[in-house]
């Protein structure tokens, strides 16, 4: 049964309890952060921060301001570009639908960072020598496998983050978006259920995805064509060359024999 999380931004109060719970459960150290002139703190994900709240202030058309929030973390795509490009198999899809990884297998190439359409994985790396490993939200598999819900969902005081079976959450999210539309949020919609094979992290958004800096049509970019295409071309080119050389070598041998006779 595929599991998922549904994040209802209309219920999020940006308390950052999920941010703290994530750090606590995953044993991630605190980082010294700086005030960047906004509420975002920290302002970006890092190898030690797998979940953070992003804030946006939006001017309303008739005057006044809307203040909106979104927890930012791995979207656990069903057809995940990071899994496609990972050369070592460190990143993989697990049976419950999560995009999981085995840090001991990571060789630090960083392709997952550069091919993720949501800009999520972060690399612990010394750039000169390339030694390092990647990290990101694990969907709290250590909890879920033991029948618990993820730490962020557990800590959320308003019920903005819910965990459950994917198809139940899609129904729930669709109904909630309809309700919000009726309440005057004309662009409210469920985000992610139909993207990249279905995201494991879905949102109920009160506005267009672009307002929350979410891509309307996320893709794996070159990852879609890169591997199957180039691996095929490589095998063909090298194979054909080797075959040509073998024929040539045999012909040359034959001619030498003819000359000797």
């Amino acid at each position: 049964m595929t599991k998922a999380m549904l994040i209802d931004v209309s219920k999020c109060i940006a308390c950052r309890a999920c941010q703290v719970a994530c750090k606590a459960w995953n044993d991630l150290p605190a980082e010294i952060t700086v005030c960047a002139g906004c509420y975002d703190n920290p302002t970006d994900l890092s190898p030690d921060t797998w979940n953070r709240i992003a804030f946006w202030e939006l001017e309303r058309q008739g005057g006044g301001v809307d203040w909106v929030f979104r927890p930012v973390r791995c979207m656990h795509c069903t057809d995940a570009p990071c899994v496609r490009v990972c050369p070592t198999g460190a990143l993989f899809k697990d049976s419950l639908g999560f995009t999981a990884y085995d840090e001991s297998k990571c060789n630090g190439c960083g392709y997952c960072v550069e091919f993720c359409p949501f800009d999520i994985p972060r690399l612990k790396e010394a750039n000169l020598w390339g030694k390092g490993t990647t990290t990101k939200c694990t969907f709290c598999q250590t909890r879920v496998r033991d029948g618990l819900i993820p730490a962020c969902a557990k800590a959320c005081p308003t019920g903005a983050i819910t965990f459950g079976d994917r198809k139940d959450l899609i129904a729930e999210g669709t109904a909630r978006a309809e309700k919000l539309k009726g309440d005057g949020f004309v662009d409210a919609a469920l985000y992610g259920h139909d993207l990249l094979g279905g995201l494991g992290m879905m949102y109920v958004l009160t506005d267009k995805p672009s307002v929350f800096e979410l891509p309307e049509h996320p893709t794996g970019g070159l990852a879609e064509v890169w591997q199957p295409w180039i691996q095929g071309l490589g095998s063909f080119a090298v194979g054909a060359t080797a075959l040509g050389l073998l024929i040539n070598w045999l012909v040359a041998r034959q001619n030498i024999k003819v000359e000797e006779e």
């Binding site: 070592t88 460190a90 001991s104 060789n107 091919f115 750039n127 890169w226």
Partner: protein
């Protein structure tokens, strides 16, 4: 220029050094690159700490690789420019070579083969692929090494893609180069030329007739 045993000097010391430095760097880069690239190896040998060591060796190989054009330019700029000029000059003998090549290589029929320059058309083609791919390797490699995070995502993604394309070009032409120069029963002179610089007069006369004429007219 003739040697003791009726041989002709084909390659300067710098040219030979640069060639073998290129060979050594290529060997390291090709082996470590394939370990990282082919799923069967990248999921067994080049995984975890082994993969990090492989990537480190790839970077050391890359430094040697980048020294190839630098050394050539520093120690023998004239030789470099002369070689480049020959490689980028294409004429009717080259068209003739391309037409005659299938019969020559696959049927052993040498009749239609026009006289060739210091580098025959096939060698020129190889040289061109090497020059283009070398630029490609260095530019995309540096983007992936030191440009990550600083360059746009699509730039990095295209770098990976183009680096792989260059590898295919290099690998295919390397096979041809290796077989024809080291293993091929008819081309014994070429390897000697690159090891010691000298090639037998008869070999040059036969395989690089146009160049031989050029040498004769210079004397």
């Amino acid at each position: 220029m003739t040697g003791k045993r009726d041989e002709i000097l084909m390659f300067s010391t710098t040219q030979r050094f640069v060639h073998w430095l290129h060979t050594a760097a290529f060997a390291v880069l090709m082996v470590t690159g394939l370990l990282l690239y082919l799923p069967w190896f990248s999921r067994s040998i080049a995984t975890g700490v082994g993969g990090q060591a492989t990537r480190l060796m790839h970077r050391i190989g890359a430094i040697a690789f980048m020294l190839v054009p630098i050394c050539y330019l520093l120690f023998d700029p004239r030789g470099l420019f002369a070689a480049m000029k020959r490689v980028f000059t294409w004429g009717k003998e080259d068209l003739g070579w391309l037409r005659a090549a299938p019969a020559y290589y696959f049927q052993g029929d040498e009749e239609a083969m026009p006289p060739q320059d210091k580098y025959n058309t096939g060698q020129k083609l190889f040289y061109l692929v090497v020059v283009i791919c070398m630029v490609g390797f260095i530019v995309t490699g540096l983007i992936m090494w030191v440009g990550r995070g600083a360059v746009a995502r699509w730039v990095f993604q295209w770098s990976v893609f183009l680096h792989d394309l260059c590898t295919i070009g290099y690998a295919a032409f390397f096979l041809v180069h290796f077989v024809l120069s080291v293993m091929h029963p008819l081309m014994k002179g070429a390897l000697n030329g690159m090891l010691f610089g000298w090639m037998p007069r008869e070999y040059v006369k036969h395989h690089h007739a146009k160049y031989y004429e050029e040498l004769q007219s210079e004397q």
